[in-house]
């Protein structure tokens, strides 16, 4: 394992395809121009990204972590640029994380709370897009409850679009921050056994993670009752398990998904107590995984349902690290897209 100039662990196999040491001279780099090799104008999903695109983003995020740990966190890559956070679904940490990321890169960030917007007055998504576009933003961050809505919006605007979660489809920045967290703690992703547990059927986090982690060579498992697994999941490159004992065996990472409580009473699973009993992560179930297995959760957590407090707050939990990585990953994404912003 190599050590970066900032004293962070680096795994050679993850770095080399990108041109080696270049990525590790972060703070020395230009304040106003990005060096990230990222060929896409939008980030709509993990699907369509090559392994090298993902690694480029993770490497850039590593730099952003370093930057964010400094007293002076500000850069000017996005100075003068306008970033609109357009959230049709309530969000605390994702929206805050995008806002902070944009501000650290120098952008002017505007949060559009949908409750106050004309969407509530019946405006269609496409009309909203056209209206916003007329304000000449440079980047729009979108979360929407419908799968495919962000893609639709991206076709109607002339700026870059980042998907902050669309329905049960994708949540690419969450998958990137999860991958960054794993890579920084385990030193690699290739060859790890990662168990994604819980409501896979309704989870955009699960879909993006499956795509990303398998692209980087991890062995991915999903663990859930059949009613919370989408049909055809076994053909998405994952192993399917229906008990925690089987699914967690020898896992390096246990990734819990948030359970939507409104899905809990009888429709998909019989009750909270039954779900917690068979699928809630406690010390006992965690013991099936490797002794050094780490626990992740995209938050916000339902304590005592999908995860026990003792585990969520315990020494093997990466939940707070994930939040920190979230800001860094979003900075990397914004920076990567800045290549493609209009120049005049």
């Amino acid at each position: 394992m190599a050590i970066s100039p900032r004293g962070e662990r680096i795994l050679p196999d993850e770095r080399l395809p990108l041109g080696g040491i270049r990525a590790y001279m972060p703070a020395l780099m230009s304040q106003s121009q990005s060096h990230i090799a990222f060929p896409h104008r939008h980030l709509l999903g993990i699907e369509g990204l090559k392994a090298q695109d993902i690694t480029a983003l993770l490497d850039a995020a590593d730099e952003a972590v370093s930057l964010s740990r400094q007293v002076e966190k500000k850069r000017s890559i996005l100075r003068g640029r306008t970033q609109i956070n357009l959230f049709f679904e309530a969000s605390t940490r994702t929206q805050a994380s995008f806002e902070l990321a944009g501000k650290r890169l120098g952008a002017d960030v505007m949060n559009m709370a949908v409750a106050n917007s004309s969407v509530k007055k019946g405006e269609t998504l496409i009309d909203t897009a056209a209206t916003l576009n007329a304000m000449r933003p440079d980047i729009i961050i979108v979360r929407h409850h419908c799968s495919g809505a962000v893609d639709l919006l991206s076709r109607k605007v002339s700026c870059s679009v980042v998907n902050a979660g669309d329905g049960a489809h994708e949540h690419p920045t969450q998958a990137l921050l999860d991958a960054l967290t794993i890579r920084r703690t385990k030193g690699r992703i290739q060859g790890l056994t990662i168990a994604i547990c819980g409501d896979v059927a309704h989870s955009r986090v699960a879909r993006s993670n499956i795509l990303l982690l398998t692209a980087l060579g991890a062995r991915v498992r999903v663990v859930a009752p059949s009613t919370l697994l989408p049909s055809g999941i076994d053909r998405m490159g994952v192993e399917v398990h229906r008990t925690m004992r089987d699914g967690l065996r020898d896992a390096d990472i246990v990734m819990m998904l948030r359970l939507q409580l409104e899905r809990m009473s009888g429709a998909f699973v019989p009750s909270l107590r039954e779900y917690a009993h068979f699928y809630g992560l406690d010390e006992d179930k965690l013991s099936y995984a490797k002794p050094d297995a780490l626990v992740m959760h995209p938050g916000p957590i339902n304590r005592g349902v999908e995860i026990d407090s003792a585990v969520a707050d315990g020494p093997r939990s990466l939940i707070n690290e994930q939040v920190e990585m979230g800001v860094a990953v979003r900075m990397a994404v914004l920076e990567a897209l800045s290549h493609h912003l209009r120049k005049e």
Partner: protein, 438 residues
């Protein structure tokens, strides 16, 4: 308790093992609650000195019957039946294991109620009592019951009793969820809209009596839906009751398709038909309804060739208030624990079904479905055995029945075949005086 007992032997018997299909002269030796030897070698001559021998005088000894659907009245229906009275009726009928129906008050959809039943059974029953639990909460067909927790508490199967799950999405999820726990679903399939307000089989008899009819298609449509759902999830499905040749066609196709499906019919549907309703006899008001004689014969043939796996009593005690009312207002259901074997023997006496096949459907197949070691007269199996005289004739006197309710459709019927002794885990729980003298 049984471990301190002397070994017990039933000798001079016709020993039938409905699992292996053997039928030999000999005996059955029991020690420590299990069968230690069975067959021609167990004779008076080669028993140890400490063995208590019982001479069966040529009567049949076989494994105890297992009934997959019994309404025991607890909790909440103690005026109709209790675990104690159901156990007594079962023992007298040669039924050594009963699966309780979850349509109690409260419904058996909470692990605490399963626990209650197990405790009540431990204290009040001599036969084995295994609770089945609700498939959906409150039997309402809307939300999946806590199948995992109920199974851990001891529920052996999941069923909404005589209610069909109307919503196909709920049924699909229930099948899918139950599959994760390898749980057995027992479902009485029906298209509820087609059943409507019907009270007997649709057709000429219903028209002449002026009663609302229930088409056989209602059941077949429900079953057909379930088979299509089952094919998507690959779970275990048992059709609680099939009553017509249309339903048999669906089951035959599903079995040929390789689905893990089994089916049962009731002793009533095998031995009675819609004409037995006569002048509005409410004791023959059943759900599904008794069908035309052609349908009954189709069921008998399906039992003989094994398409019908299991025969149940569908023991459903109803008190006079719910039966001594006009036919269309009367409750559905009949008792059957005590008469199931004798009624079934009608089919053997008439030559339509072999004795071994009948006993297989009453004992081995239900044991297999529940994954019990019972249902076989073989070394090592639990000593749940019965002895019966298959020829002894009698006229059924309802007042002699042990059930709290007397709504038997065989009221005054001539039957042939008497249970002489029932034994659970090597303990005699029912037997005539002749058996006690050794």
């Amino acid at each position: 308790m049984t471990t301190q007992m002397r070994p017990l032997a039933f000798i001079n018997a016709r020993v039938i093992d409905p699992a292996g299909g053997t039928d030999v002269r000999g005996g059955v030796l029991i020690a420590d609650g299990v069968i230690s030897a069975a067959g021609a070698d167990v004779t008076a001559g080669n028993l140890g000195a400490d063995v208590r021998a019982i001479d069966c005088k040529g009567d049949i000894v076989t494994s105890g019957l297992i009934d997959l659907r019994v309404f025991v009245g607890e909790p909440g229906g103690e005026h109709r039946e209790t675990i104690a009275s159901a156990s007594a009726a079962a023992a007298a009928g040669g039924v050594t294991t009963i699966v309780t129906s979850p349509d109690a008050q409260p419904v058996v959809d909470d692990p605490a109620v399963v626990d209650f039943l197990k405790r009540r059974a431990r204290d009040n029953a001599h036969v084995r009592v295994l609770p089945s639990a609700a498939l959906t909460k409150g039997l309402r067909g809307q939300e999946i019951a806590e199948i995992g927790l109920l199974q851990e508490a001891g529920a052996v199967a999941f069923t909404d009793a005589d209610r069909a799950v109307r919503n196909s999405q709920v049924m699909l999820r229930a099948l899918s969820y139950a599959r994760d726990y390898d749980a057995l679903i027992m479902h009485q399939a029906q298209d509820a809209d087609l059943v409507g307000q019907g009270v007997m089989n649709a057709g000429e008899r219903a028209s002449r009596l002026g009663l609302g009819g229930i088409h056989a298609a209602a059941e077949a449509i429900g079953l057909d839906r379930d088979m299509r759902l089952l094919k998507m999830v690959d779970g275990r499905y048992h059709a609680s009751i099939v009553s017509s040749s249309l339903s048999l066609d669906v089951i035959a196709r599903a079995k040929a398709d390789g689905l893990k499906v089994t089916c049962a019919t009731t002793i009533n549907h095998l031995t009675l038909n819609e004409n037995d309703i006569g002048d509005y006899r409410t004791f023959l008001k059943l759900m599904p309804p008794l069908r035309h004689e052609d349908e009954r014969m189709a069921l008998v043939r399906a039992l003989a060739d094994g398409l019908i796996d299991v025969v149940i009593s569908d023991h459903n005690p109803q008190d006079v208030e719910t039966k001594r009312v006009p036919f269309s207002e009367a409750a559905f259901g009949a008792i059957g624990l005590e008469t199931m074997l004798a009624a079934g023997l009608r089919l053997v006496h008439s030559g339509e079904v072999s004795l071994v096949r009948l006993l297989n459907a009453l004992s081995t197949r239900p044991a297999d479905l529940l994954r019990l070691p019972q249902g076989r007269v073989q070394k090592g199996a639990p000593a749940d055995v019965i002895c019966f005289d298959m020829d002894e004739p009698f006229v059924l006197d309802p007042t002699q029945l042990r059930s709290r309710s007397k709504n038997t459709p065989f009221d005054g019927a001539r039957l042939q075949g008497r249970v002489k002794m029932s034994c659970v885990a090597g303990q005699i729980i029912f037997g005539s005086d002749a058996f006690d003298a050794s």
